[in-house]
């Protein structure tokens, strides 16, 4: 037992130690009952304590208390509270202590949750996943849209798209990376090494480096371009100056000088405003110039020219004038400025007091904003200027006259002027019609028979056209006029007094036209001729008011042409129908008439048809050779006999298909052989034939310069033989490619989804 005693004492001491060693937060089971089991346990402890005496396994002892930590009597863990459970705590009613708050919270949370949501059906989850993934990937793909569009529309694509960067490697780099392979190379290298050639040379000498740094390529280019431009400008101005100097025209120089003077004056004024001191200097210069003029003999009538003029002056008024002019100029130039000091007073005064300077100074000082005395506009100069301008205009006028006089064109011109006048009148008439809206009904009735008549006339005309092909536009006019004349009473309605002079002229022209028509075409319809004569008679009789009458007639002629079109349409309709028209209908017609007032469709059509017929007629062949067998020269024409002999008459072609169809033009030009080669239908991408024609009209090398030709024939896709074309990459087009590899991003287990997730995702999908 002794040993047991000793052991117990050891144990006790040991336990003390143990207690000390243990951290405070270790809850201790204080109850130690004495029993057999305890005996055993103590023994165990003893053994352990003995074994732990050597100090190594002491930690193990601490483990023992773990069990008691976990197993708490109250089944509520007080873990983390760091408090000892004291008996008094348990006696008291339960309070809200910090240790329990967390637990309570947990409990509440559990209570608040009713049921856990069911996970979605697997298929549905997958569907959602797919949808989300699809949206994501299509978003990624949409970044390619601009690239694809650009490539599709590109003028030219050169494959491979990514060009290897051509880097300029110094020779040393290349040499270092290269090894001698063949025996010859090896031999050479051996030799080089033997001679101790510098193997690791510095790449560039300091001087070279400095020179590289000195100016970048762009800078040099820019500088060069600048210099080039300056040189080009200089040479251009030089050339221009030379050219101008070479012009001999005095008039030109005079005008030029005047212009310069004006400019100088302006400049001077500006200078005065901006910098009075500088202006003063200028004035001083002018003063000096005046002195120079006084000293010189210029404008003194003592030169060679003046002397010669002096001789002529006796007989020639102009020479005398010129001399006087010169003297006057001298006087002007040498006149002293009255008050050059009073500069600041005002511009109006200054202009009067401007000093006068000789030419010499002007020429020199224009650039330096010099004041120029030539600005002074005396009447004399003005007159001269006017003269000059006249001179300048003169040459143009005769030309115009010439052209107008040329006989062939005359008719055309007249026609055109006529048309213009018609237009004018139409606009005016529209106005007047607006004023006379009240009367249309009456007018309509009166007009109807006349329009019928006109129609019959026109038909006759058409017949003639088709049979003889010998009519001109003037006839229509004249025939129309006859129709007009038969109802003069109506004309009074038109208040057309506004444009008197113009109209009078056009009328005259019209008359002329009519006469020409008579002369040229013997087969003019009788009615027309009669009408014309009648009209003449009328005009003779009436005398003073004739002008007015005529004007009105003119107006009605226009009116008539415009009203014809509806009646042509209603050819088949009996006239009674027209009489039965409702008022509404009449109004409608009136509106339409107004809308198309002055659209002389019929006349245009007839003209067109006439031209078409003329064009399709085979032409006579004239084989006369002037000067062959008789005298030749300017103004000599081959004799009529000869002309007759050598004129080959074109055979009469087959009759036109539209011969008996007055209101139809049948084009007979279509060539069936050519048609086989022509495009019949507008091809797909084009929306208008002009677009298509434009694509055809850009010709090749025969008609274009080399550069333009190359540009025009540039192929759309260029590939190089032997070059591998790789698929386009994000880097090629300037996008950043994803840094992570596809392999590393693979997601293996997609998450489970609940309904809430699903809703969220679906919302995202919608977005």
């Amino acid at each position: 037992m002794n040993a047991n005693q000793a052991a117990e004492s050891l144990l006790a001491s040991n336990q003390q130690k143990e207690l000390e060693d243990l951290p405070k937060d270790y809850p201790l089971s204080t109850s130690e009952d004495e029993g057999d089991k305890d005996e055993e346990r103590k023994h165990q402890k003893l053994l352990e304590s003995i074994s732990s005496l050597n100090g190594k396994d002491r930690q193990k002892l601490a483990d023992r208390s773990e069990a008691s930590l976990k197993v708490s009597e109250f089944s509520v863990s007080s873990e983390g509270s760091g408090e000892k459970l004291v008996l008094s705590d348990l006696l008291e009613p339960v309070k809200t202590s910090s240790s329990l708050a967390a637990v309570k919270k947990q409990l509440n949370r559990v209570k608040s949750k009713k049921t856990v949501e069911l996970p979605l059906h697997r298929e549905e989850i997958e569907r959602i996943h797919r949808e989300v993934a699809f949206n994501k990937s299509s978003q990624i793909l949409s970044k390619w849209d601009p690239v694809v569009l650009k490539n599709r529309q590109a003028e030219q694509l050169v494959f491979p798209l990514s060009k290897p960067q051509s880097a300029f490697a110094p020779i040393e780099h290349v040499v270092n990376g290269w090894k001698a392979g063949t025996p010859l190379e090896q031999e050479i290298f051996n030799l080089l090494h033997k001679n101790k050639q510098p193997v690791t040379d510095p790449l560039l000498t300091p001087v070279e480096k400095a020179s590289l740094k000195a100016m970048s390529l762009e800078e040099v280019k820019m500088r060069r371009a600048e210099l080039q431009r300056a040189r080009a400008l200089q040479s251009y101005y030089e050339a221009r100056a030379r050219r101008e100097k070479r012009i001999k025209s005095k008039k030109y120089h005079r005008i030029l000088k005047k212009g310069k003077a004006k400019q100088a004056l302006k400049d001077f004024e500006k200078l005065q405003k901006v910098n009075p001191a500088a202006a003063l200097e200028e004035l001083e210069k002018l003063d000096k110039a005046r002195m120079m003029e006084r000293m010189s003999l210029k404008h003194q009538n003592s030169g060679k020219w003046a002397k010669s003029k002096a001789i002529m002056a006796k007989y020639d008024l102009e020479a005398r004038q010129a001399m006087q002019e010169q003297l006057a100029r001298n006087k002007e130039l040498t006149q002293k400025v009255a008050a050059s000091e009073s500069e600041e007073e005002g511009e109006g005064q200054e202009e009067e007091e401007e000093p006068l300077v000789p030419d010499l100074v002007n020429e020199v000082q224009i650039k330096a904003n010099g004041l120029n005395p030539w600005m002074f506009r005396n009447h004399f100069i003005d007159a001269k200027e006017a003269e000059v301008q006249k001179d300048l205009e003169d040459p143009a006028e005769p030309e115009a006259q010439e052209t107008s006089e040329s006989e062939e064109e005359k008719a055309v011109v007249e026609e055109e002027t006529l048309l213009k006048e018609f237009e004018e009148r139409r606009s005016l008439r529209q106005k007047s019609e607006l004023n006379h809206m009240a009367e249309p009904v009456h007018r309509r009735v009166t007009k109807d028979p006349s329009s019928q008549e006109v129609l019959s006339d026109l038909r006759a005309l058409c017949q003639k056209l088709s049979t003889e092909n010998h009519q001109s536009g003037k006839q229509e006019l004249s025939s129309a006029r006859t129709a007009q004349r038969e109802e003069p009473a109506r004309e009074e309605e038109e208040p057309m007094l506004l444009q008197r002079p113009e109209r009078a002229r056009t009328l005259d022209e019209l008359e002329e036209l009519g006469r020409e028509g008579c002369v040229e075409n013997e087969e003019l319809p009788r009615t027309a001729v009669e009408g014309l004569q009648l009209e003449k008679n009328l005009s003779n009789h009436i005398g003073a008011p004739k002008e007015k009458k005529r004007k009105e007639q003119m107006i009605d002629l226009q009116n008539l042409l415009t009203t014809k079109s509806p009646s042509v349409k209603s050819l088949a309709v009996p006239t009674t129908v027209q009489e039965l028209e409702d008022e509404e209908e009449r109004d409608q017609r009136q509106i339409i008439k107004e809308a198309f007032a002055g659209d002389d469709v019929i006349r245009d059509f007839l003209k067109e048809k006439r031209e078409a017929v003329e064009a399709s007629k085979p032409k006579d062949l004239d084989l006369t050779l002037p000067g062959w067998g008789e005298w030749g020269g300017i103004g000599l024409k081959p004799s009529a006999k000869k002309r007759r002999r050598f004129l080959i008459k074109a055979p009469e072609g087959p009759p036109r298909k539209d011969k008996n169809l007055p209101n139809v033009i049948i084009n007979e030009k279509r060539n069936t052989h050519a048609a086989a080669h022509q495009v019949q239908v507008l091809p797909h991408p084009f929306t208008h034939h002009q677009q298509f024609e434009r694509t055809i009209q850009t010709p090749g090398s025969t008609w274009n310069t080399q550069r333009a030709f190359q540009k025009l024939t540039m192929p759309k896709v260029v590939t190089k033989p032997g070059h591998i074309i790789k698929p386009i990459k994000a880097e090629d087009v300037g996008y950043r490619s994803s840094s992570r590899s596809d392999l590393s991003v693979i997601q293996r287990n997609p998450k489970r989804l609940s309904i809430r997730h699903k809703k969220h995702l679906e919302n995202n999908c919608v977005d």
Binding site: E126, R127, H129, R130, E131, A133, F134, K136, S137, S138, I140, L141, S142, W144, V148, N151, L157, F159, A676, H677, Q678, V679, Q680, P683, F692, T695, I696, Q697, T698, P699, G700, S701, T702, W703, N704, Q710, L712, T713, P715, V717, T719, K720, P721, G722, H723, I724, I725, K726, P727, I728, K729, A730, S741, D742, L743, V745, I746, Q747, R748, P750
Partner: protein, 445 residues
């Protein structure tokens, strides 16, 4: 007195060397060169005729296989190397410049179903009917060594197709499902399925490389996202799609070769309507491959011909056939976009020019200018009837020709019937369905 002399700078008319062209001074005054358009028209006519005269597209036939050629692959790093797999499990590597087979491997038992090269061009993969995936070295074994694959993966089911990722050590196979494999592992890193049917072909998108497309025998085309390991969308067509091919220049465009004689070009973002329906074949289309320029593609058909379609045209611009060429099973456009290869049933691989009348070899600048000009002329006058007729004229085998006629009649009849139906029913109740929409049955999300 100053006398003006005529003087010329010899630089303007003397050639520097004998080989230089004589300088011809030109006057571009249009009045001196009348009839621009008619003259150009004649030139265009001549160009069109000459094009047909020089149209000799067939270059070579590579024979050596002992069974029908089932699959072709090109080497991404070498233009001259082509690989082919036959129906007897034999793989041959060809040198196109020599037009010779440089290596033969008995790779599989049964068909070689698919073949693809690694992006670096050092090795290639084959799948066969013996349920294996094999990786082979591109270079042949040194002497004494045996012809052995680098790796062999034994699968549970038959793999019907294979394609390699364009940038990484990943490849995809298809069979019962689409499997994505890491080259280093013997099991797929992910498998993607959508329904159960045998998938006949799988292709990686060359631009956005994480996208895949596959086509299965239940008439659908399925798109996959490799990163998210999920299918994206499925479109069901009228009939089965045999293969698809992605456009190498337009990331979202792919073309599907269908059994109903047509090819469909889709924008993968809008699958409900194809961008273009390409029709000209008269039998099932078996394979399709894009030109590397992305402007055209070539299709191989069961009707013993291959056709070249522009991407934006519904009709083919060219048809190639020979007397001896049987059903064409696979076709490839070479990486320099100049040639086309096709493998067919009768054991031959044929090499064609992509542009039938193109002159091969180096062109002088004048030749090039002339061809460019001729090309432009043909393009300019393409709508003129004579030129259109000449440049469209092709000789076709009687079978194809008669079938085209037959189908034209059938199509016309169908159209007429549809029109009649519309005519005789209540207005608005029957509507004309456009050709593009007609063939898409459904799009499944």
């Amino acid at each position: 007195m100053k006398v003006k002399m005529l003087s010329r700078n010899p630089d303007h008319y003397v050639r520097e060397t004998k080989l230089d062209l004589q300088r011809v001074p030109r006057n571009y005054d249009p009045t001196l060169h009348p009839f621009e358009v008619p003259r150009e028209y004649i030139r265009a006519l001549n160009a069109a005729k000459l094009e047909r005269v020089f149209a000799k597209p067939f270059l070579a036939s590579l024979d050596g296989h002992r069974d029908g050629v089932n699959c072709l692959a090109k080497n991404p790093k070498s233009l001259a190397t082509v690989l082919s797999g036959a129906c007897d499990g034999e793989v041959k590597i060809w040198n196109l410049t020599k037009r010779k087979c440089i290596r033969t491997i008995q790779a599989h038992e049964g068909f070689v179903r698919g073949i693809c090269t690694r992006f670096c061009g050092t090795s290639f993969f084959t799948v066969g009917d013996d349920k294996t995936v094999k990786q082979w070295k591109m270079d042949g074994p040194s002497c004494g060594e045996e012809e052995e694959p680098l790796h062999t993966i034994l699968g549970k089911t038959v793999y019907t197709g294979i394609d390699h990722h364009w940038r990484e050590a990943v490849f995809a196979t298809c069979g019962q499902q689409v499997d994505i494999w890491d080259e280093q592992r013997t099991s797929p890193i992910c498998s993607m399925t959508w329904g159960f049917d045998s998938i006949s072909s799988v292709k990686f998108n060359p631009i956005e490389t994480f996208l895949l497309g596959s086509c299965a025998s239940d008439r659908n085309i399925v798109l996959y996202d490799m990163r998210q390991a999920t299918p994206l969308k499925k479109v069901i067509l009228d009939m089965r799609t045999n293969t698809i091919c992605w456009n190498p220049m337009e990331a979202f465009i792919f073309t599907a070769a269908n059994e109903d004689y047509n090819l469909y070009t889709f924008d993968m973002r809008a699958l409900d309507t194809p961008v273009m329906v390409h029709m000209d074949h008269v039998s099932a289309v078996l394979d399709v491959d894009y030109s590397p320029t992305g402007r055209e593609f070539v299709s191989a058909s069961f009707d013993k011909s291959i056709r070249i379609f522009p991407v934006d045209k519904s009709r083919s611009r060219e048809v190639y056939h020979t007397k001896r060429m049987q059903h064409v099973i696979c076709v490839k456009w070479t990486a320099d976009s100049k040639y086309i290869m096709c493998g067919s049933d009768e054991m031959n691989i044929r090499l064609w020019k992509a542009n039938a009348s193109e002159k091969l070899g180096v062109l002088t600048s004048r030749e090039r200018a002339a061809t460019d000009y001729n090309q432009k002329l043909k393009e300019k006058f393409q709508h003129h009837p004579y030129i259109k007729r000449i440049s469209r004229h092709r000789h076709l085998p009687k079978s194809i020709y008669s079938q085209i006629q037959e189908q034209r009649i059938m199509k016309e009849a169908r159209r007429r019937k549809e029109l009649n139906r519309i005519k005789h029913s209540k207005p608005g109740s029957v509507q004309m369905v456009s050709e593009k929409k007609k063939h898409v049955v459904a799009v499944v999300k």
